[in-house]
Amino acid sequence: MRRTARDAEASARRVTRRALILAGAQAGVLGALALRLRHLQVEEADRFRVLADENRIALRLLPPARGLVYDRRGTILADNEQNYRVVIVREDAGDVAAVLARLQTLIGLDDEAVERARREIARRSPFVPIAVAERLAWEDVARVAANAPALPGVFPEVGLSRHYPLGADTAHVVGYVGPVSEADLARLEDPDPLLQIPRFQIGKVGVEARMEDTLRGSAGSRRIEVNAVGRVIRELDRREGVPGADVQLSLDARLQNYVQARLGAESAAAVVMDVASGDLLAIASAPGYDPNLFVRGISVADYRGLTDNDHRPLATKTVQGAYPPGSTFKMVTALAALEAGVVRPDETVRCPGHVEVAGSRFHCWRGGGHGAVALVRSLTESCDVYYYELAQRTGIERIHAMAGRLGLGQRFDLPLSAISEGLNPSRDWKRARHGQEWRIGDTINAAIGQGYVLASPLQLAVMTARLASGRAVVPRLVRAVNGVEQAPAPAPPLGLDPGHLREIRRALYNVCQSERGTAWSSRIDAAEMRMAGKTGTSQVRNITAAERARGVLGNDQLPWNRRDHALFVAFAPHEAPRIAVAVVVEHGGGGSTAAAPIARDIVLQALYEGTPPVSAYPASQRNRIETQQRELAPRLMPPPGPGASRA
C-alpha cells in the first residue's frame, strides 16, 4: 500500500529495531554454538581423540610359534610344520562359483570342502579370506600359483601346524593339539585372548595339554587401521610374539619307539625308568594312535574306530590304567613283614597248596603246594601260601604303610593326562569307601596283590626302582624347559634295612636266573646285563569252588577279556641297577609267559642302547629271537647318524 513518508519511516525504524533484536538473539545462538564447539574440541578433545583411535585402530593378535618338544637326545617329538593352504577372497574372485569349480578340478577338492567354503564365503564379509583347502602338497600350491590368472581372488598361504614325527610312538606321552573348544574356554577362568583366534590350537592331551602354558608362548600384536565395516586399511605397527618355550622330555625316543613296537598290537603298557634320577626313558601304551590325525581334525569313522576298539588305543594305560599287581606286590608284603620283625629271611612256612583262614579256603597257584618255603624261594617260585601266613602276622596297616613308601597309591606329578592314583587299601579306606570293616580275608588277598589293591604300570616301575636303589626315587618326565635343566626331585633313602633289601634283590635275581624261577625262560645270558624281576598274574574274575572242582580253565580257553593280566617288573643290571621296567599285558595270560619276555627285550634294548646281540639271550632261544628282531626291524627308528641329534 502507499504510505506517507512519515509512516514509512516509522515502519522502517520498527523493522530495524526488530531486526536488531533478532540479530541479538542470533548472535546469542552463535555464541552458544561456538561455546559448544569449544567444549567438544578443546576441553573434551582428549577423550574424543581416544574414542576416534578406538574406532579406527584394531588390535590383531599374532599367534606365537608353539614350543617344540624334544627327547633326552634332542630328537624332535613335536614340531611346527609349514602348512600350505589356499584361501579365497570373495570381492577379488568375482564369480565365486566358477573360480571354486576351476580350483576343484585343478587340485582335486572334494565336494564337501567346496560346499563348506561356499557357505563360509556367503557368511563373511567380502574382503575376509576364507580357507578352501588346507595341508596341500607343494605341487598343488605350485599349480595354483601357475594358474593365478584363471583364479582371481585365490591365494596360496603358508601357516604353521603341529606335527608329530614319531606319530603313534609318542602319542600317549606328548599328546596332541586341537582347535579350542567351547569346553576349553569355559574351563579357563581368564582365557588368553589368543584362544579367540579362529582355528588356534591348544594342547588337548598329555604334555601338550598339561604344559600348555609353557609351550604356547605369548601373543604378538599387530595394530591395524580399520574402517567402519572392519576392512583393514593399513598396518600401523607390529610386535612379534614370544614363541613358546621348548620342552625336553626325559624320554629316549629310540627306546620309546622300540618299546611301542615291541608291545605291538597287544593291549599293554610298559614303563622304563632310570633308577637313579627317576627319568622316564620310555612310557609306552599300546595300541597307539596317530596324533597327527587329531591335529588335522579326525574323521568320524577314524574316531569311532579308536573308541570302539576293545584294546582302548586312546587310553594312556601307563598312568591311567590301574591293575591288580598280583604277585609283583609280594615284595611289599615281604618287606613289611621283615621290617616289622614278624618273620626272619630264613624262616620257613609250609605250603600245602591252600590254607583255611576264618572259614575260607585260600589257594596257592600251585595246587600241590611248595612244601617248606623261606623268603627267597617264596619269591622265586611265587608261593602264595607263604604270603597268606605273612599277611596274618603283619596286618594290613603295615602292608599299607610299606606300599606307600614304595610309591603305590601315590599320584606322581607328571605332565600326563588323567593320572591314576591306583589303590593302596587300608582299614580307614574300606570304612570310608564301603562302610564295612576290614576283614582278614582282605589282608590275605592284598598280600598277593589281589583284592582291593590296584597299581598303575608307572607305580610298579617306581616301586621296582625304589627296591633297586633303596631310595625314594620320584619319576620325572620333563628334563629341561627352554634349555634350562629341571632339578630332579630329591630321592632320600627309604630307611629300610639294607640286609632285607639285599635278600629281596637276591630273590628277584633268582626269579630270572634260577631254574626254578618263574621267569627262568626269560633269563639273560650276558653276565653284566642280567636282570632281577618278578612275575605277576592277576585275576580279573573270581574262580568259584565249583570251577576249581572241575579244573580251572586255562587262559587259552577263555574269551580275551576274561583272561588274566600278565605283569612283570624288573631292574637291571642286577648288581648295579640302572633301569627299572614294568610291563603289563592286559589279559595276556601269565606274567612269566606274556610279560617277562617283553621286559627282557626292553631291558636289553635299553642297556645296549640299540638292538642287543643275540648272544645276550640263552643259546636255546637265539633262533627265535633272531626271527623276532628281523620282524621288528622295519618298525624301528634308524640308529642316530652323525649330526642327527641335537641336545
Binding site: V15, A19, L22, L37, Q41, N55
Partner: protein, 382 residues
C-alpha cells in the same frame, strides 16, 4: 515508503547495477561455498569428480542466478511473491503424486535437469509472500488477531504439507522462517509468547501420543528424539550417527588432524559425511580453528545482510532481507546444533557446504533477491 518513491529517487540502471551489487556478500558466499568444495574433495578421498565438481558447477549456476535476480528490480519480486508461493505450494502438493521416494521420504520432483525439492523452494517463496503481505498491510493492523492469523496460516499450511512428506527438519525451518518475518514485521510479542507456550503444550502432547493409535510422529522420529536426549543409549544403533559425529568433532582438537587426514570420515565411521554431517569432517580435519572460521563466515553473511536491511528504508526489502538471512541462519544453526549433539538429527543440510542441488540453488536465488533489494534501494538524488 513504497514503489512510488522509486520513481522519484534514482536507482542504478543497466550495466551500472554491477557496481552496486553487494560484492562483500558475493565474496562471503563464495568463501563458504569454497569451504564446501574443499570438504567435498576431502570426504571423497581426493576425488574431485565425485562431489566437488558437480557442486562447483551448481554453485556457478547459482551465482549466475543470484546476479540475474539481483539485476531484476525488487518491485518485480514483490509483485510475483504471491504467484511464486502459489506455484511452490502446488509443487509441494504434487510431490506425493509424482515425487520420487528418496531416503525414505517423498521429497523430490525430477524435472530432468535437476531434482527439485519444492519444500526448499517454499522456504524462499514463503519469506517473499510474508514480506509482501506486510508491505501491503496497514502497519496499524499488524497485531490485530485476524491479520496475525492470516500469515500464520500462510506459514503453517505449507509446513504441514512438508511434515506429511515426512520431513520434520524442513517443516521446522519453514515455521521458524515464517515466524521470523512476523517478528520482524512487528507482530506483538504476546502472540509469540503464546505460540511458544502452545508449542510446549504440543510437545507434551506429542510425547503423550507415543504408542497410542493417534501417534503424531513416525517411530523413527521418536527414536531420534530418544537418542538425541541420550545418545549413549544405543551407540551402535540409533545413536550411532550422533556419537560418531561428536567423536569426529571432538577428536579434531584445536587445529585438527590436517586436510584429508580425518580418520572418522576417511574410514567411513561418519554417516552422511558429504551431506548433513559435512561439518564434522571440517571440524575433524581443521579443528576448532577451522570450524570456528566457518561459523564466523556465516555470522558475517548475516551481518552484511542485516546492514543491507538497515540501509534500505523499503519495508518489503527489509523484511525480505531479514527473512532470507534468518532462513539461512536457521539452516546452519540447526545443522551445527544437530551434529554437535544439541538438537535432534532432523536432516538439515549445512547451507552452501553440504552436497546438494536444490537447497543451494534456492538459497542463492534468495540471496539474489537480497542483492536486488540492495541494488534497488531508494537513494536520495545526490
Amino acid at each position: 515508503m513504497s514503489f512510488l518513491e522509486y520513481t522519484v529517487k534514482t536507482v542504478p540502471t543497466g550495466v551500472a547495477k554491477v557496481l552496486h551489487l553487494n560484492w562483500a556478500l558475493v565474496v562471503l558466499l563464495s568463501s563458504v561455498a569454497g569451504v564446501g568444495f574443499l570438504m567435498l574433495y576431502s570426504v571423497a578421498g581426493g576425488d574431485l569428480s565425485r562431489w566437488a565438481e558437480p557442486q562447483m558447477k551448481r554453485f556457478a549456476l547459482g551465482l549466475a542466478v543470484m546476479i540475474a535476480f539481483g539485476f531484476t528490480p525488487i518491485w518485480f519480486w514483490r509483485n510475483v511473491a504471491g504467484l511464486a508461493s502459489g506455484v511452490a505450494l502446488l509443487l509441494l502438493v504434487a510431490v506425493p503424486l509424482v515425487g520420487t521416494v528418496g531416503m525414505g521420504a517423498q521429497r523430490w520432483i525430477d524435472l530432468g535437469f535437476v531434482r527439485l525439492q519444492p519444500s526448499e523452494l517454499m522456504k524462499v517463496t514463503l519469506v517473499m509472500l510474508l514480506a509482501a503481505y506486510y508491505d501491503w498491510l496497514d502497519t496499524d493492523k499488524v497485531s490485530r488477531p485476524f491479520w496475525v492469523l492470516l500469515p500464520a496460516l500462510l506459514t503453517l499450511v505449507p509446513a504441514g504439507f512438508v511434515l506429511t512428506q515426512p520431513d520434520l527438519g524442513t517443516a521446522l525451518l519453514l515455521a521458524l522462517g515464517g515466524g521470523l518475518v512476523m517478528v520482524a514485521a512487528g507482530v506483538h510479542w504476546l502472540y509469540f509468547a503464546s505460540v511458544i507456550a502452545a508449542g510446549a503444550g504440543l510437545v507434551t502432547l506429542v510425547f503423550a501420543s507415543r504408542g497410542t493409535p493417534w501417534q503424531l510422529l513416525m517411530d523413527y522420529q521418536f527414536r531420534r528424539i530418544d537418542t538425541f536426549l541420550n545418545p549413549d543409549l544405543d551407540p551402535l544403533g540409533a545413536g550411532y550417527h550422533i556419537s560418531q559425529a561428536k567423536i569426529a568433532l571432538g577428536s579434531g582438537g584445536w587445529t585438527g588432524k590436517g586436510f584429508m587426514q580425518g580418520t572418522q570420515s576417511r574410514l567411513n565411521f561418519l554417516p552422511e559425511k558429504h551431506t548433513d554431517f559435512i561439518f564434522t569432517t571440517l571440524a575433524e580435519e581443521f579443528g576448532f580453528v577451522g570450524a570456528f572460521s566457518l561459523l564466523a563466515l556465516y555470522a558475517l553473511v548475516i551481518a552484511f545482510c542485516l546492514a543491507s536491511a538497515i540501509n534500505t528504508r523499503d519495508r518489503f526489502s527489509q523484511l525480505l532481507i531479514v527473512g532470507i538471512a534468518g532462513t539461512f541462519f536457521f539452516y546452519f544453526a540447526v545443522n551445527m546444533a544437530m551434529v554437535m549433539g544439541l538438537a535432534p538429527v532432523v536432516g538439515v543440510p549445512l547451507p552452501l557446504v553440504s552436497y546438494g542441488g536444490s537447497a543451494m540453488l534456492v538459497l542463492l536465488a534468495g540471496f539474489g533477491m537480497v542483492q536486488s533489494a540492495h541494488v534497488h534501494r531508494p537513494r536520495n538524488r545526490a
